[in-house]
Symmetry: D2
Subunit: 334 residues, 4 copies
């Protein structure tokens, strides 16, 4: 039995970690921290988790005893606590942006702050880095948009079929976290579609880093907030360098992702509801127009494959467990 | 031309007053106050109002010059500014709860605060008090739930057909105002139906006051928050004291509201979309079951007939204008 | 390994049965029928079920070989196929209304058709009939509204604390099934709350039958369609016959449902999102007003505890399996 | 007083024409046709239009007497009725795609049918063709997507600043019309974002025709269905041929649309709610990234500026009325 601690467990990704780990046969959650809700039963904050006796603790990360710790903390906060946990030999999956960048300068430019404690970390997208994750002590869990965007573009970059991408993503509101803001106020985002950080979203350099690792790309990214609770649908527009047809593209993707436990190349257009609540990424569409523009569409649940599910997948790999343990259930449609 | 000032113009009811008055032929808005947005163009805060040159002011109400002032201020705040405006001979339509109660004790019990400045005011439901409104200097604009609930029950109370009511209302989220809270955070209220203040909502004694004025009633009220932006749908359940059929009930309502400019008795079930954006109240259903329980359903737009539209209607009456001026357009379906 | 057949597997309840049974350790789905999609892979119709190789069959129910058959067929259709399956000694969980009524006359009156093949069946609400279900060959799976409504009223009826109920329910649109209609067309039901069958819904006599079994009741029921995909929130309004306070009511419910694997009495107001996708029924609120009206609120997922999950629970009981097998995961919030 | 007939008045664009014309001072609607609802009062089909006495007629278009006729008929149907109306000297605004293309071959290719009755028509986008509309007898009202897309790109094409466009549009579900389908079934499109006709939407050649009129373009277009009732938000991605900054772009747009009654260049990102129910098109964003990709965002109400409002605007121009008559009210936010 692997003992797990969750730092920052009262938010949406924390709640999702708890939901997923509740059915994980090899794991026991021993600590769930929250400064705000210290002493409060988990079931009061996460109304779906009525059968746990856990209470939130306001615990010093430096004294938390566990085999694996998930840091579901904001960027800037993770870098302050991860180093001391790592030093004590504990495995860490960090859900913030703090350890995702190879080049600390890129982090500092896009996140607008000094990185105080750089560490060696593996970027936790198993579809690219599975072998490194297996040996890692610190895994930087990918951002939600990058997960859907990288998986939609990766085979094309690998095969050098395309190098220019305009990625137009649509995200559910849970991606903004549990804290209410004007943007996430129901009357403001309901019945609206709201582009934001149109050319300046922090996930842009993350997508670029991972794709450029394979081959150089020219990449533009724009996210939109849509009146959906969970899910990111990514429409990746690209100009093909070769004259390929739809079924040839689909074949390339099917081959590339063969054997991947959580990527499914689907016939037709992926649906958010098909992956809702699950760790799957569905990829489809593959249409090409008269300008040789191809459109690849991916769908993920931003809180699962886009955050907590992928974090559990990474933990499974790091701990030598079955990669799909606790995650092998389908989405919820409708 | 009547000059109008709006105190508290940056919220949803303020924005709605500005939207409605923009097309009112006899009125000019001369002041729109907001402490938070002082100096900011109205068009920046209310994105739909691009054609006004108004800027928000942080103005002392005691020095505001206008024929009519709307106080779109929270309860507790209105009582601090209305008296000095009244003293200066200006007509006031107050959108808060501060002047709705005949018995100050009821106000103090349900609103949990001392009433510092009671004044004579007329309850601004024209369907009951039109003649008094005509002569009033201070009109207390009804609450959103009471508007829909009273209109749904009034003919039955008047005709002594029923005296026991269980009012189960469903409100759109704009009724909670412009300020984000946990309850109104999109992921929390989307795909949910949330009963709140189940037996303790402040609009309960307001409904009771107006119906009891006609005949004694035993009244229970429960509101629910639904994933809708605008609108209140009220299902008034009542036990009939006489054996009446559906079409007899409909006839009673049709007769009672004959000539009312903003009440429409409709065949079938009222739709929120049918009144969206408009000052109409639709009333329908009138079904009776084997327990002599009848169900009356009313639909209003909470921001229009439930707030700002009714306020303009009251202003029209107070100023001797055509009661429907600026308000005589239909709802928006779908 | 228990072999299972699903008749009518292409609709929402069929899809939900397939989703739930995919993770059930003791069961294998051997047949999934659909006349419309005969020969089509299940993954094409249910986009979330990408990992099954099942294809829909247009199979004669009289020749289907399985230990248990779920009939996810409309009322009127079930009575035509269930008898021959029963005759062959196969266990049946019928999700239609055809076998829910003890008195065939009630069925014929409310469903407007002759019942051609009455059979002995057990009403499949385990919280009332667990022991009978254990020995049954034919279980009539309860309707979605009755599940939430009966569980909200049962302890009060049992304890003779109340006998008059006005049940005001709000249902998600998936309850209307997979077939598009004007009512379920997005622009018509979005941003609306639509009462329907206000005094004539077929679930009324079903709720009444089960509660009256315990003690006589006077019961009125009205459903509303709300812009929610999954879930039924029921507000049961009742007048108490004794002077009880909120915490006394809660204690009665907690005691009554002690040990029930899928009923949770919660502090505060139940949330649809807390039970979404799960087989739990959450019950809460328990507020009492000055008219001795109490409000009990229950929340279920209409497709799970309100249909397919409860069907699996019934199968587990009938087959002597662990009652919670395949169902012991929490809801999905947000 | 101008007399108006509406052919196909029971759908969403028909209802919207009726809503808008109800407040038009210079117009009287004398005929509203519907084969399906012949004899039925308009108020029964359009629940928001309670104050009209009009009934739907099943009228032969060849015998309809009116100054102006709106044909709110599907493509393929318009071409069968417009010629005989034109022959009788009546002005026509056709809302279908039948008369939008200069090159009949393009129509036949994209609409997959032979054009039986080509006629001279003016493409009814006043921002391009106002003077021709003034003299036209037949105006082809633009498609909903083209209206938002052309207005977002036009100044850049005119100024030769860009010639390659990837247009990623998000439309509300009312754009699919009043007829229920699987795609528009609430549980299917709620909480989803659904790309459709990804490279094959019929509005593609329409956008291309109007922009290419000015200067050659390479244009790709992809629409998405979003869980919104009204509105189209268009994100036009383009690569600039010059090194321009955001405020320079904004200046170009502001200058270009100076004096246009229904286009507003806004600071920041346009909101669907800001134009909801109104005839305005808001254009904003203007951000540029490190790849010289610029993003222009436009927002319209698909049923108003994207259909019926623009049709009334065209009628006003054709009849020499004030262009904004009946349309000069702001959107509805929230």
């Amino acid at each position: 039995m692997i003992s797990v601690g969750i730092i920052g467990a009262s938010g949406y990704t924390g709640g999702e970690l708890l939901r997923l780990l509740e059915n994980h046969r090899d794991v026991e959650v021993v600590h769930a921290t929250s400064r705000q809700y210290s002493g409060v039963p988990v079931s009061r904050v996460h109304p779906h988790l009525q059968d746990t006796d856990l209470k939130f603790q306001d615990m010093d990360p430096g004294r938390m005893d566990a085999d694996v710790i998930f840091t579901a903390t904001p960027h800037g906060a993770s870098m302050k606590i991860v180093p001391e946990i790592i030093e004590r030999g504990i495995m860490v999956v960090d859900l913030s942006g703090d350890y995702r960048f190879e080049d600390t300068g890129v982090y500092e430019e896009w996140y607008g702050m000094k990185h105080e404690h750089p560490l060696d970390a593996v970027y936790g997208l198993p579809e690219i880095h599975r072998e490194k994750i297996r040996k890692a002590q610190l895994v930087a869990n990918p951002g939600c948009f990058p997960t859907g965007a990288i998986l939609a573009c990766l085979p094309l970059v690998y095969e050098k079929i395309a190098d220019t991408f305009i990625i137009d993503s649509k995200t559910g509101v849970s991606g903004a976290g549990v804290k209410p803001t004007s943007l996430t106020h129901y009357p403001e985002c309901s019945d609206n579609v709201i582009p934001y950080n149109v050319t300046s979203h922090r996930h842009t350099p993350e997508i670029r880093q991972e794709l450029s690792r394979i081959n150089p790309v020219r990449l533009s990214f724009t996210p939109h907030l849509v009146p959906v609770t969970r899910g990111i649908l990514t429409s990746a527009h690209t100009f093909l360098r070769e004259d390929l047809e739809s079924d040839e593209l689909m074949e390339i993707f099917t081959g590339f992702y063969d054997g991947e436990p959580f990527v499914r190349v689907v016939d037709g257009i992926p649906r958010l509801s098909a992956v809702r609540g699950s760790n799957f990424c569905h990829i489809g569409c593959f249409e090409v127009d008269e300008n040789q523009r191809a459109v690849i569409v991916s769908a993920i649940d931003n809180l699962v494959k886009g955050a907590s599910g992928q974090a559990v997948q990474n933990m499974n790999i790091m701990c030598g467990l079955n990669e799909v343990e606790g995650l092998d259930f389908p989405g919820m449609h409708p």
